[in-house]
């Protein structure tokens, strides 16, 4: 038995048939499947420890608090941060909105600029557009090269003394390009901008060290790194989190409340109003353990081998064209098929048991950049194998025979 077969065995949802075909799951950039240890952790929490956190004096509350805060410590260790720099949120989207509203809104005004890139997911575009509307700041967009990599010269040209925030993705969800975020942070910092890195597509695949990257904020989602949906985290540098106003008001984010004056709880609790997703955090904690156990090096090796095999297999299919061929790339294969609309490709693949994503991948401006309205996307994870890519190739040939 190969190592990768053993990895897939840890993910119960992968072991099923859809219709009469074995499932081939190639949509991990949308959400990864969950290993048994994560499912068990969530189940066990509800079965044994379910209680509200932080304020209860009883045993269950103490256990729940320990699990929740333990998750914060695990994430901090994984990302090279300290515990009080990790704010639990619903996911990367909420993390970016939090920065836009709690850091950006009180500080930005007319004349300020927010620099993003053409390859951003809508979640790293729209929160900044809202902030621009609210404050009068202007949005600037750095270009993407033909191979799908960021045009760093364009990024440099647009950086200036007016740039208040530079927000960019670590890995493109649509085409897999990896940005040199450390270099971009150095550039942005030199221009005096606060940096926000969207790490949703990174933390399930590569070692991320926020200190080494030198970012001010780093956003990620648990469900794209083997954890549950509805939980993610925002890393923020302590000084910035300290000086920020709360994002939402409610319980747990306050020290004392009166009708005359309310004082905020300390960081990071100041940003966690209301009962949080305790089970989600505990599941994410188990996901961190899972990643640590396999190791990012192994994950990287397996995925790079799959990317290279997938690139070769797709290049051998007449009529299939890869979109995004940056040198630094995660295992995401975006492509079009001559004469067959991506939506039809998706339906035919599904009929073969192969789950891919089709559409604009919440990155409409990037699609327009390449003159496309939609692509097909096969996104791989550590549990995939070469035979999954062979199944994709078979399905694509069928689509071409039927419709091209």
């Amino acid at each position: 038995m190969t190592q990768t077969t053993r990895i897939a065995d840890a993910f119960p949802a992968l072991n099923q048939t859809v219709g009469d075909k074995p499932l081939v799951y190639l949509d991990s950039a949308a959400t990864t499947q969950k290993p048994t240890c994560v499912i068990d952790a969530v189940h066990s929490y509800y079965e044994h420890d379910n209680a509200n956190i932080h304020r209860g004096v009883h045993q269950l509350s103490m256990r729940a608090t320990k699990g929740y805060e333990g998750a914060r410590a695990k994430l901090a260790a994984l990302l090279g941060a300290s515990k009080d720099e990790i704010v639990f949120v619903r996911g990367a989207t909420e993390a970016i909105n939090l920065v836009a509203q709690a850091w950006g809104r009180p500080r930005l005004g007319a004349g300020d600029e927010i620099l993003i890139t053409e390859m951003e997911h809508h979640s790293n575009i729209v929160p900044w557009q809202l902030l621009c509307e609210q404050t009068g700041a202007a949005l600037k967009v750095a270009k993407v090269n033909d191979d799908g990599s960021l045009n760093v010269d364009s990024f440099k040209e647009l950086l200036g003394e007016d740039t208040a925030i530079a927000a960019f993705t670590h890995v493109s969800n649509a085409i897999g390009s990896i940005n040199q975020v450390k270099e971009l942070c150095t550039l942005a910092k030199a221009a005096g901008a606060v940096t926000v890195v969207d790490g949703a597509q990174a933390t399930g695949h590569m070692h991320v060290d926020v200190q080494d990257i030198g970012c001010d904020f780093y956003a990620t989602s648990g469900h794209k790194m083997f954890g549950p949906t509805g939980i993610g985290c925002l890393f923020g540098r302590s000084e910035l989190l300290e000086e920020m106003e709360p994002y939402q008001g409610g319980g747990d984010m306050i020290l004392s409340v009166s009708f005359e004056e309310t004082t905020w709880n300390k960081v990071p609790f100041k940003f966690e109003a209301g009962t949080p997703n305790i089970a989600g955090a505990i599941g994410l904690s188990a996901a961190c353990d899972y990643i640590t156990e396999i190791g990012y090096d192994t994950i990287h090796d397996i995925e790079m081998e799959l990317l290279s095999y997938g690139t070769k297999v797709l290049s051998e299919i007449d009529g299939a064209t890869l979109v995004g061929t940056a040198k630094q790339k995660c295992a995401i294969l975006a492509f079009t098929v001559d004469g067959v609309h991506p939506h039809d490709v998706g339906t035919i693949c599904d009929h073969e048991g192969v789950a891919i994503r089709t559409g604009n991948h919440c990155a409409e401006p990037l699609m327009h950049r390449f003159g496309l309205s939609a692509t097909c996307r096969a996104s791989l994870s550590v549990y995939n194998t070469a035979s999954d890519i062979d199944a994709l190739a078979t399905a694509l040939r069928k689509a071409i025979t039927m419709l091209a």
Binding site: G339, T347, I348, G359, M402
Partner: protein, 145 residues
Amino acid sequence: MSDLRELYLEMVTDHAKNPRHRGKAEPCDCIGTGNNPLCGDKLVVTVHLDGDTIEDVKFDGEGCAISVASADLMAEVLSGKSVDDAKELFSGFHELVAGEGTPEVPKKLAVFSGVREFPMRVKCATLAWHTVIAALNGSEEVTTE
């Protein structure tokens, strides 16, 4: 699992590859734009009316096989029909692809009966219809989201 051949019948793939009614109806008496954000498709439907009679329907834009074939066959079926007939035909077509009954529809629409087994594709099949009905009702833009 439902059979793919039921979805992609020969008439459907033929009209998807070689649509007969692509373009703009002249003179254009009403126009509608339909968006399917799920697949990024955008369809512009134009209609030439003579009083209450639909003389010509044309469509333009990009779409998947189902949405292009549906737009093309719709254009064929609607030619010469009254506005009320068009609404009735849509109601039957909608029942065919998204309902549970067995509506009587012209043969050229019956080829979409397989869509019912593919719920994610209902919006593709109905985009052109939603758009033409909106155009006939005087509103310009519809979305299937």
